[in-house]
C-alpha cells in the first residue's frame, strides 16, 4: 500500500507518526482514507477538492503536478511540501 510522509505540523493528528501506510489508487483516495484514520487531516491538506495552493505534491521524491487525481502504486511514497517561489 502507498505510504504517506506526514508533514511535521500534522503529526499532532497522527499521534506523532511521521510515516503512515494508507490504501488508495489515487492521491485523492489516499487522502480520504487518511482522513478516515485521522479525522481532520484532509481539511489541513486540501481546500475544497484540491490540494491547498501553497502545497506541492511529491511522489517518490519527484514533484508531481497532477494533484489529487494522480494515480499511485503500492510502493509509492507521497509527500506534501510547501510550494517554492522564485525572484
Amino acid at each position: 500500500m502507498p505510504r504517506v510522509q506526514i508533514p511535521a505540523l500534522l503529526r499532532e493528528l497522527t499521534n506523532g507518526q511521521d510515516m503512515v501506510v494508507v490504501p488508495g489508487e489515487t492521491v485523492g483516495q489516499v487522502i480520504e482514507n487518511l482522513d478516515q484514520s485521522f479525522p481532520g487531516i484532509k481539511g489541513r491538506l486540501c481546500y475544497g477538492n484540491k490540494l491547498r495552493k501553497n502545497l506541492s505534491l511529491v511522489i517518490d521524491g519527484k514533484l508531481n503536478q497532477r494533484g489529487i487525481t494522480q494515480t499511485v502504486s503500492e510502493k509509492s511514497v507521497i509527500r506534501f511540501i510547501p510550494a517554492i517561489s522564485g525572484g
Binding site: L9, R52, G61, L63, I81, P82, I84, S85, G86, G87
Partner: protein, 763 residues
C-alpha cells in the same frame, strides 16, 4: 496544442553542440547601446496624462477622512482616485474562501482602505496634464489620520503584547488557525529523525543567532505603468514587469475585468530581480484612465517611492544549531527563522526553510519558520527569495564548526554534501546534481591556494543551493520564405533570454542563432506564460521552444514525404540535414521550398517536470581596515553549476551581477528607520549599492552537470550566486580579523564595534 513536456531523462553524455555553448552577439542588444531600446518608462502615447500617488507619512494609522475636492478643481487635473474607486470585492473575496485574503491584501496595498500600514503606503492618486501639476495636486488632497503605534521589529511583533496590525489575522499552521489575533501569519515546520539524539552524538555543537536587515532589489528603472482604458471597455497596459500574464491576472482580479478585455504589452525592463512581479501602479493608471475620460495615463515612481513603497526583501532573525562528529559528519541541525513579511503576510520564509540545509545530508533536522507582519512595505521576491539570509546563518555556523574541528571548510562540505539520489529536507530526491563538482572545482582554483599578502586579509568560502523553478510557458514558431524562423514566446526578456531561446531553437533545427528571430509576444498573441522568475526561462520556455522545433521538423518531414511520395520513415532528419531518398537538404533549403505555397507555423504550451536545482561554492578574499571597519573585496571566485551554459558570456554576466548584489547585501545595504517607522535612507546616496570601484573583477567559473530534465541540460542560472556572498564574506572577515559577524550588513560601524569588543575581551 497543449503538451506537457515529458520528464524523460535526457542522456547528455558526450553531447556536442553547434550553437549552444557559443556566445554570439544578439542584434537586439544593439538597441540597448544606442539608446533605442524601449523600456516601460519610455512609453509615450498621444494625449497622455501623467499620474502621481499620494503616500502615507505614517507607518501605522487609521484613515479618518480623505478630501479630494480641492485637488479635483485644480486646472490641469483630470481625475483623482482613492480606494473608494475600486470595485467592491466582497463577493469575490468570499467566493475565494481561504485565498480571498490574498486578493484583499493586494488591493489594500495598491490603495489603502481604512488603515495605512507603512510609511509610503499609497492613499490616493491623481492624473493631470503634466507631472508637475499632478505632484502639486497631491498637496491639495487632505487626509486626516489617527496615529497607531507601529510595530517594526520582528521579534517585538511576535510578542503577545504587540499592537496587532490585522485584527482578523490568525497564525496558519497548514490549515489550522490560531484563536487570537496575531502578527504571526504562518508557521511552517520540517522535521525528520531525532535532533536531540543527533546533538548528543556530536563532538562539537555550535549554536548562534543572526539578524539580517531589509534590502531592496535595487533595479535602476523605477516601477512605471501606462494604461489606456478605452470607452469600448478594452484596457491596454504598458509597464515594467517580469510577467505580462501575471499583470493581466492581477489587474483582472483587482478591477474585476475579464481577462479578455485586458492586453498587456511587453517592453524592455530596466532591472527586476523579483521586484517586478507584483502590480502597484497598473490598476491605478487604469482607473485614472477611465475616470479622466479614457485618456492614456502614465505613472512613474520616484526612486524614493521605489524604496518605500514597492517590495524589498525580508529582514530576518535566525537561530541555528548544528553538531558534527570528529570526522566532520553533521549529526543534527536545527533552525528557527522569523522573517518580516511587511504589511501583509507572505514573506519567503517557507522557501528559506526548504533551502537552508539543502546542500547537506543531515538525518536529524528540525526547522521552524515564521512569517511575521510588521509596519514596513510588503516584501517581495529578490533573487532566490529568502535563501541568502538563511544561508548566511548556516554557512557561518559551518565555518565555526570547521574551525573547531580543524577541518578544511571545502573538505567538510565534500563530506556532507549531497549527491545524486540523496533526499532533501522536504523529501524531494536529487537527480543528477553538481554540488560535489563545484566543491572540487573550487578546491582546484588557483584562488583557493594563493597566498594572502597583507595584514588583516582573510579568505572565506561558502556554498549554497537554489531550487530553480518550472512553470507554464508557451511558444509559437513560423517559417519565413527564406527558411529563417520567427519565434515568439510569452517570456519577458530581462537580460538576454531571447538569445538563449533563439540558440535552443537553432540547435534543434540545425540552423544558426541568427536565423531565428525571437520576440516576446503580448498577452493577446501567445499562450499563457508564467513570468520570468525563478530562473525558469531557459528551462521551461526552453522546453517549449524545443518542442516547437520538433514540431517544425515533423511537419516538414511529413510534407516532404507527401511531395516525394515516400513513407515518412524514409524522410530522416539529423544534425540539421533532411535526407530524402538520396537527396539532402539543409533545414533552410527544405523549409523555404516547402512553405512557399502553404505556410507553416506551430505552437505549444508546456509545464515541464524535471527542474534542475543549482549549487554554488564561492571563495572570497577580503582586507579589513581595523581603523575604519571598511572591508575591501580583493578577489572573488564564484563557482556555479548551471547544467549547460547556453550562452556562456550571458551566464558569466548573471553570476557576476548576482555576486555583486550579494556583496552589497553583505556590506552596505539596509533599510534604516526612525522610531516612528519612517525610512530614512530613501535614495541611492544613502541606500548604498555597490559602485564600480567597490568590486573587483569577479571570476565566474561555470560547472556543467547537465540536468537530465532538459533536452540541453539546462539548469536555471540567474539567481544562484546571490546566495553565498554574505556568508563567504563573513567567513573571510573572520579569517582576516578574528571576529564572527552575525548581523547583515557588516557595515563599517558594526564591524568596528565587533573588532573593539574583541580587543576588549582579549585584554
Amino acid at each position: 496544442m497543449i503538451a506537457r513536456a515529458p520528464s524523460r531523462k535526457q542522456n547528455h553524455k558526450d553531447k556536442k553542440f553547434r550553437v549552444i555553448g557559443t556566445s554570439p552577439i544578439r542584434s537586439g542588444d544593439i538597441d540597448k547601446v544606442t539608446g533605442q531600446a524601449i523600456y516601460g518608462i519610455d512609453t509615450h502615447l498621444p494625449g497622455m496624462l501623467y499620474g502621481a500617488v499620494l503616500r502615507s507619512p505614517h507607518a501605522h494609522a487609521r484613515i479618518l477622512s480623505i478630501n479630494c475636492l480641492e485637488a479635483e478643481m485644480m486646472p490641469g487635473v483630470k481625475a483623482v482616485i482613492t480606494s473608494a474607486d475600486f470595485p467592491d470585492l466582497t463577493k469575490q473575496i468570499i467566493s475565494l474562501g481561504e485565498e480571498g485574503a490574498s486578493l484583499q491584501y493586494q488591493t489594500d496595498n495598491i490603495l489603502a482602505r481604512d488603515k495605512v500600514l507603512y510609511y509610503g503606503h499609497a492613499v490616493a492618486a491623481v492624473a493631470a496634464t503634466s507631472l508637475h501639476i499632478a505632484t502639486e495636486a497631491l498637496q491639495k488632497i487632505n487626509v486626516t489620520y489617527e496615529d497607531i503605534p507601529p510595530v517594526v521589529d520582528i521579534r517585538k511583533a511576535m510578542d503577545g503584547g504587540a499592537p496587532v496590525i490585522h485584527s482578523n489575522l490568525r497564525t496558519d499552521e497548514l490549515g489550522k488557525k490560531s484563536n487570537n489575533p496575531t502578527n504571526i501569519a504562518s508557521h511552517v515546520q520540517f522535521k525528520s529523525g531525532n535532533p536531540e539524539k543527533g546533538f548528543s552524538q556530536a563532538s562539537v555543537v555550535v549554536e548562534r543567532e543572526f539578524n539580517t536587515a531589509t534590502v531592496h532589489q535595487g533595479y535602476i528603472e523605477p516601477q512605471n505603468a501606462t494604461a489606456l482604458f478605452s470607452a469600448n471597455g478594452q484596457l491596454s497596459i504598458w509597464c515594467s514587469t517580469q510577467g505580462v500574464f501575471s499583470v493581466r491576472d492581477q489587474v483582472s482580479e483587482i478591477l474585476q475585468i475579464p481577462v479578455k478585455y485586458i492586453r498587456v504589452y511587453p517592453l524592455e525592463v530596466g532591472g527586476a530581480f523579483g521586484g517586478k512581479n507584483r502590480v502597484y501602479l497598473e490598476p491605478l493608471a487604469a482607473l485614472l484612465s477611465k475616470k479622466s475620460g479614457h485618456k492614456p495615463v502614465k505613472i512613474v515612481m520616484s526612486h524614493n517611492e521605489v524604496l518605500t513603497a514597492t517590495g524589498p526583501t525580508s529582514a530576518s532573525y535566525i537561530q541555528i544549531k548544528m553538531g558534527a562528529d570528529n570526522k566532520g559528519q553533521i549529526t543534527a541541525a536545527t533552525a528557527w527563522l522569523a522573517y518580516a513579511a511587511g504589511a501583509f503576510p507572505g514573506s519567503s520564509v517557507e522557501t528559506a526553510a526548504a533551502c537552508i540545509f539543502a546542500p547537506y545530508r543531515i538525518d536529524n533536522i528540525l526547522i521552524d519558520g515564521y512569517d511575521v507582519v510588521v509596519n514596513r512595505p510588503w516584501t517581495a521576491s529578490y533573487r532566490a527569495p529568502g535563501v541568502s539570509n538563511a544561508v548566511f546563518a548556516c554557512e557561518v555556523v559551518i565555518d565555526e564548526l570547521c574551525e573547531r574541528l580543524a577541518i578544511d571548510p571545502l573538505d567538510f562540505r565534500c563530506i556532507n554534501g549531497v549527491k545524486e539520489g540523496d533526499q532533501r529536507t522536504n523529501g524531494l530526491r536529487y537527480d543528477r546534481i553538481g554540488f560535489q563538482e563545484t566543491l572540487e572545482t573550487a578546491k582546484n582554483q588557483p584562488h583557493y591556494t594563493a597566498p594572502l599578502l597583507g595584514p588583516h586579509q582573510g579568505r572565506g568560502v561558502a556554498s549554497g543551493f537554489w531550487s530553480n523553478g518550472g512553470g507554464r510557458s508557451s511558444a509559437s514558431a513560423s517559417i519565413n520564405l527564406d527558411g529563417t524562423v520567427n519565434l515568439a514566446t510569452g517570456s519577458v526578456d530581462l537580460t538576454g533570454t531571447r538569445m538563449s531561446l533563439s540558440m535552443q531553437l537553432a540547435e534543434t533545427l540545425g540552423i544558426q542563432a541568427d536565423d531565428v528571430r525571437t520576440s516576446t509576444a503580448d498577452t493577446d498573441f501567445i499562450g499563457y506564460t508564467d513570468g520570468t522568475w525563478g530562473s525558469r526561462t531557459s528551462f521551461s520556455t526552453g522546453w517549449a521552444v524545443y518542442e516547437v522545433g520538433r514540431q517544425l521538423i515533423y511537419a516538414l518531414r511529413k510534407r516532404a514525404a507527401d511531395l516525394w511520395q515516400l513513407p515518412l520513415k524514409h524522410v530522416k532528419f539529423s544534425e540539421g540535414i533532411f535526407t530524402i531518398g538520396n537527396q539532402k537538404f539543409t533545414f533552410k533549403e527544405l523549409a523555404s521550398r516547402l512553405c512557399e505555397d502553404y505556410p507553416l507555423s506551430v505552437n505549444t504550451s508546456v509545464s515541464p517536470d524535471g527542474v534542475g536545482p543549482a549549487f554554488a561554492t564561492h571563495i572570497v578574499d577580503v582586507e579589513v581596515d581595523p581603523e575604519t571597519g571598511q572591508v575591501k573585496i580583493l578577489r572573488y571566485t564564484a563557482v556555479q553549476d548551471v547544467g549547460k551554459a547556453i550562452h556562456p558570456a550571458y551566464v558569466e554576466g548573471q553570476i557576476q551581477g548576482a555576486v555583486t548584489q550579494g556583496i552589497g547585501w553583505a556590506l552596505n545595504e539596509e533599510y534604516i528607520y526612525d522610531e516612528a517607522g519612517r525610512m530614512l535612507n530613501t535614495s541611492y546616496l544613502d541606500y548604498r549599492i555597490p559602485t564600480c570601484p567597490d568590486v573587483p573583477s569577479i571570476t565566474p567559473v561555470i560547472v556543467e552537470a547537465p540536468n537530465p530534465g532538459h533536452p540541453y541540460g539546462v539548469r536555471g542560472a540567474g539567481e544562484m550566486s546571490i546566495v553565498p556572498p554574505p556568508a563567504a564574506i563573513a567567513n573571510a572577515i573572520h579569517a582576516a580579523v578574528g571576529v564572527r559577524m552575525n548581523t547583515l550588513p557588516m557595515s563599517p560601524a558594526r564591524l568596528l564595534e565587533a573588532i573593539w569588543n574583541k580587543g576588549l575581551h582579549s585584554d
